[in-house]
Amino acid sequence: MNIKATLFASAITLMPIAVVASDLTIGFSQIGSESGWRAAETTVTKQEAEARGITLKFADAQQKQENQISALRSFIAQGVDAILIAPVVATGWDEVLEEAQDSDIPVVLLDRTVDAPEELYLTAVTSDLVHEGSVAGQWLVDEMAGADCRIVELQGTTGSSPAIDRKTGFENAISDHSNLEIVRSQTGDFTRSQGKVVMESFLKAEGGENICALYAHNDDMAVGAIQAIKEAGLNPGKDIKIVAIDAVPDAHLAIANGEMNATIELTPNMAGPALDALDAYINSGTMPPKWIQTESKLFTAADDNQAIYEMKKGLGY
């Protein structure tokens, strides 16, 4: 009898719940913590929300889209003011984004985009991978100032969009400079160990003295390559100039130690611009552009890399 009474009681309370919120509550559906960068993104997002006095509801999807969809639905049911999502795959978001729109909850995509119609989300905050590559290329153009340079390239995972776009950007930047030439280009799979192995083969094939610069699609491969260069009896950063992308703490440390020359930051702070856009949208109705590009900042020996290393170390990279 009691069970029946409880069921009845819960049935009559199944009514629309008005959400009384004094300040903003934002749901954040993160993919997981598969890489150091993503862990840093999570940390920075929490910090950015806290700095603005926003209550952040965090849901880790453990790499599963079904977890992410159900987290979004729970956020909507809870009546959050806005949703941030780093989508694990591009497909299959239409339905749940429509539900969010029906409830007037703006959704901002972080770091990756989706295959859904543009009007279903407020904006997407991502970096421009091609631009990152061209910043790296431009740095080398300026650094060499017309001197001849034979470049070796460590590519990311074959076929992945960061590998394709970072290669394109770099090639675009150096295409007008005949003194710069990519002599070898091979995949190092974005990993430290492969970066080292492939760099060893470059050094054997070309001879260390014939390589003037290394461009790696991410810092991890560059750090592996630094090891290979040292083992070959050369000075990384001096005999062979090294430029890579991501600006992870270890890259800053390598620059501080003079073993690397430049890195371009893929900022983990996607939430900052996203929260600013949301704030403007919610408080004054300003529509942000559909794409907010994050800054691809160049770090060289001119920056205080030791201090940046200490600061970034704590972010969970």
Binding site: I3, T6, S10, T13, L14, M15, P16, I17, V19, G27, T55, L56, K57, F58, A59, D60, A61, Q62, K64, Q65, E66, N67, I69, S70, A71, R73, S74, F75, I76, A77, Q78, G79, V89, A90, T91, G92, D94, E95, E99, D102, S103, D115
Partner: protein, 330 residues
């Protein structure tokens, strides 16, 4: 009087109501129709596959292939609908046939080669996942109009909850399965098989055909679950639903079905699913807990239910012994 055999089911129901009451007490929004609708929609694919798993576990077996079969179904549908002009309903029928046949083949292997279900379905798991990878490693979007139609079918209740068609399919599956398990000859055979294959054979249960049918049902329901999952995500992805077989087994056990077979209820599995969904919802509502707490709580619950089952088995054997003891004395 409550029969002791009903105790795990009652424990499940009680756990669910208590958990829901606690959630609602902390977050009143948990009582909204949205949360109820979400519980049904988000757990539809898991619920359907858990029904098949209930049959398998009732018979004393296990089916580790279902998660891979769901992924296979999704990729198969996505590829067929993209590359051929086969209408979706035909594709559904085709994939249900393939997955049922796949299950039946595993059932036949288990019975005729007298292999442990664990090993046979482990092989099935690799086969199905491999087949999905071979078809495509990318996530393929499904853009057929028929999918749009099915996805737009929902009943929006007061409070904004959307009861979607896939939640309905899950409930229907549970009802049909409950009737089959508790009201048909086949259902009786499943329970008898769970009590021990030899005993069942002596009782005149057609062990071969029952075993094959059980795994065919599990395979077919994994196929149905795959269809539902493809409606849920509008895509087929070979990396999807990794480990779902374990979630399904957990739901069945939390639902009060004995892992050794022979005892349990389809309805229990339904509440097992809802409990798992509820934990996940609570963690998102809270927003500060790590989502891995879902696993920890489910692990704890599983452990509690296994202890409960063990306790009940122990209590009932002790009682039987006492009865036998009395008999010899008199």
């Amino acid at each position: 009087m409550i029969r002791s055999t009903h105790l795990p089911l009652i424990a499940t129901l009680f756990t669910f109501l208590l958990a829901y009451a606690l959630c609602a007490w902390q977050f009143p929004a948990m009582l909204s129709t949205r949360v109820v609708a979400n519980l049904l929609t988000d757990n539809a694919f898991l619920g359907i596959v858990a029904v098949g798993m209930t049959f398998v576990i009732l018979s004393g077996g296990i089916d580790l292939s279902v998660g891979s079969v769901i992924a296979f179904t999704g990729v198969f549908l996505a590829v067929v609908l993209r590359d051929t002009s086969i209408p979706p309903m035909m594709a559904f029928a085709l994939v249900l046939f393939i997955t049922s046949a796949f299950g039946a083949a595993m059932g036949a292997t288990i019975h005729y080669l007298e292999m442990p279900p664990f090993i046979v379905t482990l092989a099935g798991m690799f086969l199905a996942r491999g087949a999905a990878y071979v078809m495509s490693t990318d996530s393929i979007p499904i853009t057929h109009e028929f999918y749009d139609v099915l996805q737009s079918l929902y009943w929006k209740s007061a409070g904004g909850g959307r009861f979607r068609i896939i939640g309905g399919i899950m409930i229907l599956t549970f009802i049909v399965a409950a009737i089959i398990a508790h009201r048909t000859k086949f259902g009786q055979n499943v329970y008898a098989l769970g009590g021990g294959a030899t005993t069942a054979r002596l009782m005149g249960v057609p062990v071969a055909s029952t075993t094959i049918k059980i795994y065919a049902i599990s395979g077919g329901l994994a196929g149905l679950s795959g269809i539902v999952f493809s409606l849920y995500t509008s895509a087929g992805y070979s990396l999807a639903t990794v480990g779902v077989e374990l979630d399904a087994i957990a739901a069945v056990v939390i639902g009060g079905t004995l892992l050794t077979g022979g005892y349990g209820f389809i309805a229990g599995t339904f509440f097992g699913i809802l409990i798992m969904g509820l934990i996940q919802t609570y963690i998102v509502f809270d927003g500060t807990l790590s989502s891995w707490w879902t696993k920890i709580v489910i692990g704890g619950l599983l452990f509690a239910f296994i202890l409960l089952q063990k306790g009940l088995t122990w209590a009932s054997t002790k009682r039987k012994k006492a009865v036998i003891g009395l008999d010899t004395q008199s």
